[in-house]
Point group: C2
Chain length 368, copies 2
């Protein structure tokens, strides 16, 4: 391990550790990450496509903490947002696009990465347009509205020789990385059971997340987190899927799935019983293995993930997941390397999500 | 509140509180519960029917801590156990029965209560025989192998004018009682979601708990705890049931259900996603309501229940659940009052258990 003295360096080292690039590259005493460690010798410009809550309140602020990636441009369908963002983040007019002229971004050397933060039903179109424009893509989760769309997105990125990463965040977070290690390296033996739930009370009934056509629904929005957790805790793909959905309020009748429960069985026999919803607030992951257990609560929050195992409390720094992901993805893209959460990872989830909806529709167990 | 000085009295007061009979009846300075507080003026003799692990390691020791109920007799099909128990617990020969001469217990004034601790498929027969012998009955959980058997047992006890209690334990435990209060009194508003699991790794594949004909299966053995928890946390009966079962080991193929997951919806819309099994070790209850949450972990262990709410840690004494239940039931029986967990409570669970197995068999949602 490298002996790091300054306070800033400690934080940087933590970030670097989670980027997997700490160690020999650290030069103690040099304060900024970029000057010290930028393994690609340049910054990478990101354009955010879709300026809703997540871009506004989470990604743009995170891009003030990144050291490789930076906020270079925006793509919005709301003209009034252009000036506000331009002024706030010093974005030149030439880096501002709308959904019609978006394809002209191909000619803009300031933009290396397009981050698609649109409603789920628009992920495919804008990922493919970005790829065709020769830009690397980060696409928000869930990757698309079904597995077939994911395959088309992966194909488009491969054809254009650009990188594709899915905005899952958690794989860049150190508690989550430890859970992945404990499960996949069988630290406590084979995983036997996973109980996991991620849900929030969503009272904003006019939001697109309640609209099936826009790719809404609790399974799409929050269900992918317990699904991811079951997959990353085991390192396996499920072989069977059952699912149920529940309407809990008069006001949400006819809207996208409000509360959904689903069960996976893995090739080693392990069972996962998972819950998601727009009906209640909960966020926990409990994994039980042959010789012990490990758990996180919250497990998919933006900050302050907490965890413990049958051997004791887990202790890791609290990182800015989005900043870490964008920096690490920027490095991967620049080096032509596969990002930590490539399109294939989003596809694997969406194969299960398709099965969840198929099971809900048919009442049957879906074998994958 | 009564000012209690002595150490013993503190423990007694706790026990009394959970019995709901503390307060004005407490006479400080008098040491034994029975002498001080016995509201029925006598002890009540219990005969344990079936001397397996639970009777041997749990109930008989608990009966050394009771102050109203006491171990007066045994009923066993294993002659070698008779002498061991007689010597260890000073049981006179006239209070020892086998399954053939059991009905002669009717003439034995030492036995007030028969506690049925047999395999589940024998609960009905011995409960009805005990009732016909004029004895009050405590029957282990699950009450029987289906709802129809429960109804026959309730009828037999009513006809013979004897009490019937189900050995659920948890309703006599103070953390559990607080959870019931928080949910049923809507302390944090309407309950919206319950995640609960109770399971243990059962490697004793020759035990009757793996034998369907004997009333085995994880749903029967452990599944009734999460089911109870969902019911006592809401104070409601579910309106719909879905369920799935999983075989997780080659060695358990063809045996009773190994890992079972089930989902309940309640009349207020609340969803419960529940897990049980013989495949893994876990034991937790998480309740989410409109304005807060409450949870126990473990929630159905014999000792050391722990819990917290969105307002902070819960703090209650650790009680001997079995001793508390047997004392309280003895008092209820002697007074001709309805016990805390009457046969009707076991029946309500078994109606849902029937629906769980029906859903597993048909793949359908069962409306209750």
């Amino acid at each position: 391990m490298v002996n790091i003295k300054s306070q800033n360096s400690r934080r940087d080292f933590i970030r670097l550790s989670s980027l997997g690039i700490a160690g020999a590259m650290v030069l103690p005493g040099i304060k900024t990450f970029a000057a010290r460690n930028n393994p690609i010798g340049k910054k990478m410009g990101i354009a955010l496509v879709g300026l809703g809550w997540y871009s506004t309140d989470i990604l743009a602020p995170a891009l003030q903490e990144t050291e490789i990636a930076y906020l270079a441009g925006i793509v919005t369908g709301t003209p009034s947002k252009e000036k506000i963002w331009a002024a706030k983040y010093n974005i030149p007019e030439k880096n501002i696009y709308n959904y019609e002229n978006f394809d002209e971004i191909a000619a803009n050397p300031d933009i290396d990465i397009v981050y698609v933060v649109l409603p789920n039903s628009m992920h495919k179109e804008f990922t493919i347009r970005a790829a065709n424009a020769g830009k690397h893509v980060i696409c928000e989760k869930p990757m698309a509205v079904n597995a077939q769309e994911c395959r088309e997105m992966i194909d488009a990125c491969e054809k254009n020789n650009v990188g594709l990463s899915i905005g899952y965040r958690m794989q860049y977070e150190p508690f989550t990385q430890e859970i992945m290690r404990l499960g996949q390296e069988k630290e406590f033996g084979e995983v036997l059971h996973i109980s996991c739930g991620g849900a929030f009370r969503n009272n904003n009934l006019s939001h697109w997340k309640w609209d099936k056509v826009m790719g809404g629904g609790s399974m799409m929005d929050m269900g992918v987190y317990p699904l991811q957790a079951a997959r990353y805790s085991t390192g396996m793909e499920p072989v069977s899927v059952t699912a149920q959905t529940f309407n809990t309020r008069e006001a949400t009748k006819g809207l996208a799935d409000e509360a959904t429960t689903f069960q996976l069985q893995f090739p080693n026999g392990a069972v996962a019983n998972l819950s998601t919803g727009f009906h209640a607030n909960y966020n926990f992951l409990k994994v039980r293995a042959e010789r012990g257990w490990f758990e996180l609560e919250p497990f998919s929050g933006f900050r302050n993930i907490k965890g413990r195992t049958s051997s004791g409390e887990l202790s890791f720094p609290d990182v800015n997941q989005q900043a870490t992901q964008m920096d690490e993805d920027a490095i991967s893209f620049a080096k032509g390397e596969r990002p930590r959460v490539p399109g294939e990872e989003g596809l694997k989830d969406m194969i299960v999500v398709d099965a969840v909806y198929e099971s809900i529709k048919t009442g049957k167990t879906i074998m994958i």
